[in-house]
């Protein structure tokens, strides 16, 4: 019984640590490159269904800071993205990938500045 409890606790702890690491100050640990295309696919499908006029997503990572994207994704509040039905159908991994894309390319992300 004790052994089972220890194993359960260890697994639980491991899961929590892994999950929290995904949201640490280094940012989410999803596949941001994959997230970019998953995000675009959401709008492509949404546009084909006639829910939005353009297949070009209306929000881009540079519209907010890393901290602002963190609030959006941690609260899972995707209202401002539109295409609500398509967001509901995404898996947790897909959302983590999209979050990684937005976080790592945010307005204040450390990606190199351009001459603008």
């Amino acid at each position: 019984m004790v052994k089972k409890s220890i194993i359960t606790l260890t697994v639980l702890l491991f899961t929590m640590v892994t999950f929290s690491m995904a949201f640490t100050s280094d940012g989410p640990a999803g596949n941001d490159r994959k997230g970019k295309y998953t995000y675009r696919k959401v709008y492509k499908t949404c546009s084909q269904e006639g829910a939005v006029e353009s297949a070009t997503p209306k929000l881009s990572p540079s519209d907010k800071t890393m901290a602002q994207w963190k609030i959006v994704f941690e609260n899972k509040n995707f209202d401002e993205f539109g295409c609500k039905d398509n967001w509901v159908g995404l898996s947790d991994t897909d959302i983590l990938d999209i979050y990684s894309y937005f976080y790592h390319h945010a307005k204040d992300s450390p990606s190199p500045a351009t001459c603008k």
Binding site: R33, K34, Y37, P112, A113, T114, C115, K116
Partner: protein, 543 residues
């Protein structure tokens, strides 16, 4: 008898009125003259075959119907038919960024010692941020393959991003990414066949955003010219002549007419009548040196005043342009982080990475004599920091037969200079070691000057500089051109800065004015007396 006097005095009044009216007409414009100006007739003739045409549908070319995994593969596909294109292009300044054509002379060019007062230097292509505008793949500069699609693709597709993602996905073990990769390759394949002669957008992607953003550098070139109306530019207006850039910037072996570094854009002003193979780069090429109607006084101006001086009364008429850039203010942080402050027009007036800016719209140009050449102060030239340094400035004076009074944007600012060697400096800006990351200007200068091979003493300060850009786009319809009284006027003449010539109406000479007025009054009195004399003496005839 009474009737006779009424008739006589009535005729006298009519004579005087007719005379005065004739006097008025002599000075009136001839706008209601229906004859077309010769310059317009010639220009319409020169461009009457405006449609661009091709004999090839690139969607049917086998070499382009493949799954590309890199930009270099696309270039090889292009070269499989256009075998000499890359060889030609490697010799152009668009590729070398050096006026001389190769590294044997580094003096002039973005990849050489040339500097400006915007992002200052390309650091011999070491600043990879600048290379987003170099027509090579993956910001490799002259070490890479020519990216033909920069100038010859109309899809607007981001090939660099897509090919980089294809490469990453191909190395990924995730089976889901394989589907994404296949979709992406299909998109690349579709986009790559959209081959075109260079469009306004192709050229504009770099030239409308010169200096680091929309309308920053030139003032007469910004994204408003991607789809302009004729009020913005009579030549490029989509509701007017709808010219592409290459309509005037004609090309020979991939060399594009119109650059100004060491040489003027054109050596002589030739019309197509004189030389039908002359580049169409000047107004004279199509409009001739007698562009106005035959009886127009304006035709007497063309040996002194450029067409642009009157026909581009203001620039930056849609989007604002940057007029001031102070690098000495760069580097301030808020809570330890760089920040941006926006001002009028929604444009940044402060950026930690760059300093302080001023923007303006509807800018009235400054006018100078200009023979087509500009001086250039490079990072290897000694300056006098006690003076405002002219990074570049128009060449010419009234005695130069090729010089005309020409409109310019003058961009002012402050930039770093070497306090010991008295030379302008070339800080490295982008990348992990650049100023935009480290905020260490001294270190950025050391790295940047090392890249171009010019020694740095280790001590720097900031000096005020100016940079001159000829204004030659955004040509207004003729109704909006300057009229005579905007220059020929005592106060606030547009040409107040051109002081080395006598400008009637603006300038005053007591002797000249006295002689002039005496002539006018004398002529008036003479004609009047003569007319009245003849009338009252009835030409010497008896009743």
């Amino acid at each position: 008898m009474k009737l006779r006097y009424v008739s006589r005095y009535g005729l006298a009044v009519i004579t005087i009125m007719t005379f005065l009216c004739s006097f008025h007409f002599a000075f009136a414009s001839t706008k209601d003259n229906t004859e077309e100006a010769m310059g317009r007739t010639l220009a319409n003739q020169a461009v009457k075959n405006a449609n661009r045409w091709s004999t090839t549908d690139h969607a049917k070319i086998d070499a382009l119907n493949q799954d590309f995994t890199s930009g270099e593969e696309i270039t090889q596909a292009c070269l499989s038919c256009h075998s000499e294109a890359a060889t030609q292009f490697h010799k152009t300044i668009h590729w070398t960024w050096l006026a001389s054509g190769d590294k044997s002379d580094m003096r002039y060019g973005k990849a050489g010692y040339s500097v400006n007062n915007y992002c200052i230097s390309g650091n011999a292509m070491e600043d990879k941020g600048c290379l987003s505008c170099h027509p090579s793949w993956n910001k490799k500069g002259v070490e890479g393959e020519v990216n033909c699609l920069k100038c010859h693709n109309s899809s607007g597709f981001n090939f660099d991003e897509a090919l980089s993602d294809i490469k990453a996905f191909s190395e990924d073990s995730d089976p889901e990414t394989e589907d994404i990769m296949k979709d992406l390759q299909q998109e690349v394949k579709q986009a790559v066949t959209k081959i075109t002669l260079p469009t306004r957008k192709n050229c504009g992607d770099c030239h409308f955003t010169g200096g680091g953003g929309d309308g920053v550098k030139h003032g007469d070139l910004d994204t408003s010219l991607t789809k302009p109306n004729r009020m913005l530019d009579v030549h490029m207006g989509t509701d007017g002549k709808d010219f592409s850039c290459t309509r005037c910037h004609t090309t020979l072996d991939h060399n594009i007419a119109g650059r100004i570094y060491t040489n003027p854009a054109v050596e002589t002003r030739k019309s197509l009548i004189e030389d039908d193979l002359a580049p169409k780069i000047t107004c004279v090429s199509c409009h001739s040196s007698v562009p106005h109607k035959n009886d127009s006084k304006m035709n007497d101006h063309t040996d002194v005043v450029s067409c642009q001086a009157c026909h581009i009364p203001t620039f930056a008429r849609v989007n604002p342009t940057k007029m001031w850039w102070d690098w000495s203010k760069a580097g301030k942080l808020k809570d330890g982080k760089p920040y941006v402050e926006n001002g009028p027009y929604g444009k940044p007036v402060y950026k930690s990475i760059k300093g302080e800016f001023k923007w303006e719209k509807n800018v009235i140009p400054e006018y100078f004599w200009f023979n087509g050449s500009l001086t250039s102060t490079t990072a290897d030239d000694v300056i006098d920091p006690a003076q405002i340094v002219k990074v570049n400035h128009p060449v010419g004076d009234k005695n130069d037969p090729e010089a005309r009074i020409f409109p310019f944007k003058i961009h002012r600012g402050k930039q770093p200079y070497d306090k010991i060697n008295k030379k302008l400096l070339a800080p490295l800006l982008s990348g992990k070691d650049g100023y935009w990351t480290t905020f260490d200007m001294n270190d950025a200068i050391e790295r940047g000057n090392k890249a171009i091979g010019i020694p740095y003493s280790g001590e720097f300060d900031y000096v005020e500089t100016t940079s001159a850009f000829p204004i030659t786009h955004m040509v207004t319809p003729k109704e909006m051109a300057l009229d005579c009284t905007q220059c020929h006027i005592r106060e606030n003449s547009k040409l107040a800065a051109i002081t080395d010539l006598y400008l009637p109406g603006r300038d005053k000479s007591g002797l000249m004015d006295t002689i002039g007025w005496l002539s006018v009054i004398g002529a008036l009195a003479g004609v009047l007396l003569h007319g009245l004399g003849r009338f009252f003496t009835r030409n010497g005839k008896e009743n």
